[in-house]
């Protein structure tokens, strides 16, 4: 474990190059994963924001609806109370039943005033202050005595009592009734404690939300920060809400968006407005956004670590391959890569192993070929000296000299001399086609004399190729073969033709005889045969030399028909005089 970890760290440290596969994989997967996480987070946030906005809007609307119902309830109760007071007045039984209204704690005062503001009836015992000016009060002046109209005041400080200033909503209503045979006219006042309504209104709608009430002119009736507004710190929502009708809207105030719900009250022309900021995710404070950020960061970190680990393990076989290749580079052909890991790396290892195998094989082959070349060169060297041929020729010369055939002695000796000169040719491996043809001709001259003109020969080559270069001592063994196995001992005159030409960009020698021909079974194996001609150098050696030097596309081609003759074609690379060499490197 420890060992593995160490190796892992070393690999990371060594692969800290930005273009290393490990880095590329690790960084790119991390970037992709983090981008994906971010994109998903953003998408989720947007969806979430939309959902919370909708929730806020609904909650806002619900709370405002609820409040509207409650306030409507309050107001209708006040109307009911005033109606029952009016009914009791008309029944004449009010004075006895009055105290039961006091049981309601949210009603501050129920009183009936005469048309001059004089107190006629009151349900509790608190005295009205002596300096109260009832006729000046808004609630009194808004309803003509005796009329059946209602008036509901904005929340105000009631000043009926000395030293006590409750905040109330006042409902006033005209009333007339019969008493002592006369029609009395007056005003009923029902004061409802504003505190309970105010408590409802001061509820915050979620975070930063609030409620306010506007009257029919868009003037504030209630606002949690009413003083602030009176002293000049405007609430933009109030101004905007004044111009919108009942319903739910979304307003842009400053740089924030707010869900605004407006509801009309049924008892009055007031409108209740609920305002809640739409802050999406931040609606839930900073905890949830923090959590999401934390998760995103943690995910990115985990992805980073994982991608480093994964890319380490995927690139591990490649690094192994690199190590093995390094060994090969240093000259060790015994190196071998184990074939496991991901598929591509397996393939790579396999190809690499194959390659190494091939290289090893080729190297063995090269060594073998070199050895064979040396051998054939030794044989060629032998052919250059060709002692048997020399003895035989010398014997023939002796015979001719004894018989006094001086002319032929001269001819033969000069041919022999030329033959050997060309054989050695100053130690060069290559000679011109001209020289090679002359070499063959000299040989033919000598043999023709020795075989006492049993055959004739022709040598023919176009002048333009005579200067081309060729491997030496290629034709002589073929000609030798043609004489020995072809035209000697023929019952009719033998004929040997030697031609040189250029065909298909190659140099072609053709040695043709009209002799016995070669039997097919022998012909098939003629280039493999270990058997050597009597003169010591076989056609196989010629073929081997050519192919070792120039490749398999060159060499000898045999064609033979029994009793018709044999044709040997020698294919050699075409090399002009100027190139100087035709040897393979």
């Amino acid at each position: 474990m420890r060992q593995k970890w160490k190796r892992f760290r070393r690999a990371i440290a060594r692969n800290m190059k930005w273009n290393s596969l490990l880095m590329v994989i690790a960084v790119s997967t991390t970037v992709i994963a983090v981008t994906a996480v971010l994109a998903i987070t953003l998408l989720m946030k947007n969806r979430f924001d939309a959902a919370t906005d909708e929730t806020i809007r609904m909650t806002n609307a619900q709370i405002v609806d609820n409040l509207r119902q409650n306030i409507d309830g309050y107001l209708s109760e006040m109307v009911e109370v005033s109606d029952s007071v009016a009914a009791m007045l008309q029944d004449g039984g009010i004075r006895e039943e009055a105290p039961r209204f006091v049981l309601r704690r949210d009603i501050d005062t129920i009183a009936v005033f005469g048309r001059e503001g004089e107190l006629l009836l009151k349900t509790d015992a608190r005295p009205i202050k002596s300096y109260a000016q009832i006729k000046e009060e808004q609630w009194f002046r808004s309803v003509p005595p005796g009329s059946k109209n209602y008036y509901i005041s904005a929340p105000h400080v009631q000043r009926l009592y000395g030293g006590e200033y409750p905040w109330v909503l006042s409902l006033s209503k005209g009333v007339n009734w019969q008493e002592d045979g006369r029609t009395q006219m007056g005003i009923i006042l029902v004061d409802m404690n504003f505190q309970s309504i105010q408590q409802l209104c001061s509820n915050r709608l979620g975070q930063g939300g609030y409620l306010f009430i506007l009257d029919e002119n868009g003037e504030l009736i209630y606002h949690p920060n009413q003083q602030m507004i009176y002293y000049g710190i405007a609430d933009e929502a109030v101004e905007r809400a004044a111009s919108i009708g009942p319903g739910d809207t979304i307003l842009d105030l400053g740089n924030k968006r707010f869900s605004v719900s407006v509801r009309g009250l049924s008892g009055t022309n007031w409108r209740i407005v609920g305002v809640s900021p739409l802050q999406g995710l931040f609606y839930y404070g900073t905890e949830l956004p923090n959590l999401i950020t934390m998760i995103a960061v943690a995910a990115a970190l985990i992805v980073l670590v994982l991608s480093v680990v994964v890319s380490y393990f995927t690139t591990n076989p490649i690094r192994r391959l690199i190590r093995v290749m390094g060994k090969v580079e240093d000259g060790s052909l015994d190196a071998f890569s184990t074939e496991h890991g991901v598929y591509e790396v397996q393939e790579l290892s396999r190809s690499f192993n194959n390659m190494i195998y091939r290289i090893r094989h080729l190297m063995v082959q090269v060594v073998e070929e070199q050895q064979r070349l040396r051998k054939s060169e030794m044989k060629t060297l032998h052919a250059q000296i060709n002692p048997h041929f020399l003895y035989n020729t010398l014997d023939s010369i002796v015979w001719m000299a004894e018989s006094g055939d001086n002319a032929n002695v001269v001819k033969m000796i000069s041919a022999l001399a030329q033959f050997f000169r060309l054989s050695l040719s100053g130690g060069h491996d290559t000679i011109t086609v001209e020289e090679e043809l002359r070499h063959a001709e000299n040989y033919l001259i000598i043999q023709k004399m020795r075989y006492s003109d049993q055959f004739t020969y022709t040598i023919d080559a176009p002048p333009e190729i005579r200067t081309c270069k060729t491997l030496k001592i290629v034709l002589q063994p073929l000609v030798e073969n043609a004489i020995l196995h072809g035209v000697s001992n023929l019952p009719y005159p033998g004929e040997i033709r030697v031609n040189a030409e250029v065909r298909d960009g190659k140099l072609l020698f053709v040695v043709c005889d009209n002799g016995f021909g070669i039997p097919p079974d022998k012909l098939a194996h003629i280039l493999e045969s270990k058997a050597k001609s009597k003169s010591g150098i076989g056609v196989k050696n010629v073929n081997d030399r050519i192919q070792l030097l120039f490749g398999r596309e060159y060499g000898l081609q045999y064609e033979s028909e029994l009793d018709e003759g044999t044709t040997v074609r020698v294919w050699l690379p075409l090399a002009g005089e100027e190139e100087g060499t035709v040897t393979r490197e």
């Binding site: 105000h156 408590q199 509820n203 602030m228 710190i233």
Partner: protein, 331 residues
């Protein structure tokens, strides 16, 4: 060994990242509002204004101070306590001009910015102040009184705490204006220590010593209330009474013509601006070094006007922050 070090490094990196993620959120600030009396309507109004601003600026306001203004020595402990509590800022209404200087300097020395509200201290280590221009308040009271007393006469002044900055300045503003008017003489200045009963007693003394006094000025709510009580009991509505600040009890005296004119400070806006200023300081925005809130002149005629009734009779319901978010059903 190396393995361990790497572990620690990775862990540290994770924590650092998380920390960055968390600190990117807008911070919520905590501000201590240390006032002179938790019981008085005046300071409750300050608190209400502070709460209104707190809602706007994501600030939490801790309201604290001695129960009554006369216990101003107890305020020391609250101020010193801020060093321990370490709020982001302190809003201080100093109960005593010199006594609170040292504790306040401890707070500022601890790197906590201080915004003064209503009253000053004998130190210049504070960052900003929000107050009534007390000199101006005194001057306006004098001006209003002079305008309503065409014949001039002797004036008795009842101040509050001798060594609190608003008292000193109001008195100066009042005197400076009155001395320029012909026909008025400031006969005496008494200090009631912000106690209504003492103020009433001192008013009776003035009536005894100067039977022909034409007007009495109460320089704060308690002194004006005490004076009104004494005048009411002595049945001397004929003596002109002017005051600075107004409590509910005084409203009855205004209605009855005993308290003839009142200059009202705006504690609500003071509270509002103090939190706003503290927020501006904390967020490094530009702020005004001295914010002055306006005063309002109230008399019998405009006492119950829409704008003034909330200033004098604040809603007595629970403050906004204490209300449950779930609506209670109405019984």
């Amino acid at each position: 060994m190396k393995y361990r070090r790497l572990q620690v490094a990775v862990l540290a990196a994770v924590l650092l990242l998380l920390l960055c993620a968390c600190s990117a959120r807008p911070a919520e600030y905590e501000v201590d509002l240390i006032i002179k009396s938790t019981e008085s309507e005046y300071w409750q109004s300050v608190y209400a204004g502070a709460q209104a601003a707190a809602g706007t600026y994501r600030v939490r306001v801790n309201f604290m101070g001695p129960k009554e203004e006369k216990d101003y020595r107890d305020q020391r402990a609250f101020i010193e306590g801020a060093v321990e509590r370490r709020p982001d800022a302190v809003i201080l209404a100093a109960g005593d001009f010199s006594l609170m200087a040292e504790p306040m300097e401890h707070v500022t020395g601890a790197g906590i910015p201080v915004v003064l509200i209503d009253s000053f201290v004998n130190s210049d280590h504070w960052k900003a102040s929000v107050s009534t221009d007390n000199y101006e308040a005194g001057r306006i009271l004098a001006e209003e009184m002079a305008a309503r007393l065409p014949d001039g006469g002797k004036i008795g002044v009842i101040g509050f705490v001798q060594n609190a900055s608003p008292g000193i300045e109001r008195e100066k503003g009042f005197r400076d204006y009155m001395e320029k008017q012909s026909g008025f003489t400031v006969e005496t200045v008494l200090y009631c220590d912000s106690n209504v009963d003492t103020a009433a007693e001192q008013t009776r003394q003035i009536l005894d010593v100067f039977p022909d006094v034409a007007a009495i000025a109460g320089l704060n709510a308690q002194s004006a209330t005490g004076a009104a009580r004494a005048l009411d009991q002595a049945d001397r509505a004929d003596i002109f009474l002017g005051g600075i600040d107004c409590m509910v009890e005084e409203a009855a005296y205004v209605e009855r013509g005993i308290l003839d004119v009142a200059v009202l400070q705006n504690p609500y806006m003071m509270g509002y601006y103090s939190v706003e200023t503290a927020y501006q300081i904390l967020t490094g925005k530009s702020y005004e070094k001295s914010v002055y809130t306006d005063v309002t002149v109230v008399d019998r005629g405009n006492l119950f006007s829409r704008e003034h009734q909330q200033l004098i009779f604040p809603f007595t319901g629970p403050s906004v922050s204490e209300v449950e978010t779930v609506l209670p059903s109405i019984a």
